[in-house]
Subunit: 417 residues, 2 copies
């Protein structure tokens, strides 16, 4: 039984034409006409594969293939909405590989014990309605209260209005919440969006955890003045401590754990003149790890460092925590079982954490969850240059196929006992 | 013979009402109606002091008091234009202390051998027409060719149009260029705009040189990526090297000489997302020193540092020199003579370089030039909080008075011989 590599590839290309930008990227926001056109196209293919299609109250689209027995179904899928001028693989690869897996089973007349369902999660990117991961949050019962009225797009349109316009029922979104027994397992295939697999020279990743972001905004204030008029020994320059803190973010990430990442992505000086010592420098810090203790150690180390340096140089500082999401550790038995499946099918794989957030984070609270990564070229993502090769997509889809067959035939039940 | 402290102070306050902002500062651009109103007021006081008023083709205003003999005149003065929401002392203190000096001589019937003139330099700040120091550049014959047509304000109005509207003759601005023998000497009193005098607990500064700015724009480029998806060991993050370079600017300024100053006043990361490793970081560097060799050593040290770090981390960089103005070293004989004058008159003074640029830089090319600084509160300048006390202004004006008397009675001739 083999993945139809050409079909998978040509469908990815075809979907990339819907919402295509002049730079060759894709802009396809949730609840837009492009989103509607793209889901209509995928549903047409789903029908071709013999799936029973249904949607839930938040707009997630499901396609079901019955099993030989009644019972919890094995869920596979991802999303097809995009960021502004994003790539054509992010999300799409996961949805179309799920479809491909089911269609191959159908064509080979291969019937599994448990039902298999595929899903197109709604608004994963949060490009129009911020936050994202909306479809999986709804399944997991994690949507914030009153979200339909409080969440607005940049034009002030509420989620309620958008859902109504899309033919959905905003007052019923809670009905999307699934019971814990509904799914036997969830598997998501996704492009890596990083450079680890490329560096390891391996096409497929098996994800053992999803790092949780801990984000800070740091403000350091000192004494402004003319760049020429204030001698070095009389300065209270916040820029110098900002420079030191940037390095401390790197050092702490390297030294406090193997999987931790620390980034300063944004910085601004005020008033920001080339001949003015800044009065204030503001920058963001993003730490991520699958190990919450390492992450906390790095955060505290940075806070202490900034405190010490500011005291030494008579500066003031303010550190605001803007996000503190716990990491998601995937079930080690799922990881082991996927590693075995890869080995048995001669699929070269590398086990690694995911640095980016995914719908799998929410699904993990509902059922055993696994993720498969596909090697990305140069780690480029959320841009027109995003690329994964046909061969790598085929390898990863093949691992998904064999993982799904074994799960739908009851492997998890055996592992548990 | 004494400075009329109350008159000087009340005139500074009165001028601070012209172009006053709601924050208590002053906005008075060159060639504006506020500028016109303020110069009209000063000219009224100049007449009261018995001065013969004339203007040159660029708009500098002069007031002359004849000497007992014909000959080169001793020139004193500064400017009265301001930055946006600036302070009421910058420039104004120099113009009104010059007026005060001449008025005191007049009231005491004290006649000097050489004529004394005061000047209000036009467009020192460059707030409307960039560049500034325009009046003194015209005297020194340093105006760029075609400046009347090439220089425009933010609304696209050319200097030619502004000069015409102000009743001046744009085609004749070259006539403002003075011959070398016209002035015996030039002295400018100005607020310090720094914290050296405050730190030294001394009211008056004698300036021994004006630091020249050497300004750079540094661009460091690496590889962007998701803050979560790229492990530390696979990063090529320009932000970290920017952080190191900021510290190297400080270190090089401290270590390469006593009078050098190094500042990073502006920084930006691209694309600038809190969860994105920057593709590029851009920042400005401003080095100043009265010693050009120290300055060059610091610049080269920084360039080498950036080159080394970028090579090590596989980053690209671009360093653009945006300004390279040589320092102005004031004549040591002038400095000595002013130090003596201060001592003889019991004026507590401290000899120091100026970090900021002044009209004195241009005048230095025409005649022996000296500068007197007045202590600034907390080094604040170009803001409503700018302040120098009545007592300090009086002390500094007193030094100006005695310096002018001695110069106008031929001290320089004696020193030279």
């Amino acid at each position: 039984m083999e993945i139809n590599s050409d079909r998978l590839w040509s469908r990815i290309q075809a979907l990339g034409e819907i919402g295509r930008t002049k730079e060759g990227g894709v802009t396809r926001f949730a609840f837009s006409s492009e989103d509607r056109k793209a889901t209509d196209q995928v549903m047409e293919w789903m029908k071709e594969a013999g799936l029973q299609i249904y949607t839930d109250s938040i707009g997630n689209i499901f396609g079901r293939r019955n099993g030989l027995e009644e019972g919890a179904s094995v869920l596979i899928g991802s999303h097809i909405d995009s960021v502004v001028n994003g790539g054509k693989f992010d999300g799409v690869a996961g949805v179309l590989s799920a479809l491909e897996v089911i269609q191959v089973l159908e064509e080979n007349n291969e019937h599994t014990k448990l039902p298999i369902e595929m899903v197109i999660f709604v608004n994963e990117e949060g490009s129009r309605f911020p936050g994202g991961l909306m479809g999986s949050m709804a399944l997991a019962g994690r949507l914030p209260k009153d979200i339909v009225d409080t969440l607005k797009d940049s034009e002030g349109i509420t989620l309620r209005e958008a859902l109504n316009e899309f033919g959905l029922s905003p007052d019923k979104i809670k009905e999307a919440h699934c019971t814990k027994g509904k799914f036997e397992a969830f598997f998501e295939l996704h492009i890596e969006q990083g450079v680890v697999l490329e560096d390891q020279n391996v096409p497929v990743g098996i994800v053992n955890g999803i790092a949780g972001p801990y984000q800070l905004v740091v403000e350091i204030s000192g004494r402004s003045g003319h760049a020429g008029a204030i001698p070095m020994y009389l300065r209270r320059d916040p820029m110098v401590v900002a420079g030191m803190a940037i390095q401390e973010v790197e050092r702490s990430a390297i030294e406090e754990g193997e999987t931790i990442r620390g980034t300063v992505g944004k910085i601004e000086a005020f008033p920001g003149g080339h001949n003015i010592i800044p009065a204030k420098v503001e920058f963001t810090v993003d730490y991520r790890d699958i190990d919450p203790e390492n992450r906390l150690r790095a955060v505290n180390r940075l806070k202490n460092f900034i405190e010490r340096q500011c005291k030494k140089r008579k500066l003031q500082y303010k550190i605001i925590t803007t996000q503190d999401t716990p990491p998601t550790i995937l079930d080690q038995r799922i990881v082991n079982f996927m590693e075995e499946t890869a080995e048995e099918n001669n699929i070269s794989s590398f086990t690694m954490p995911s640095g980016a957030a995914h719908d799998a984070m929410n699904m993990h609270s509902l059922c055993p969850t696994g993720m498969i990564f596909v090697r990305s070229r140069e780690g480029l993502s959320h841009c027109p240059e995003e690329y994964s090769s046909k061969e790598d997509l085929t390898e990863a889809s093949s691992l998904l196929l064999h993982t799904v067959i074994r799960t739908a035939n009851g492997i998890l039940e055996k592992i548990k006992s």
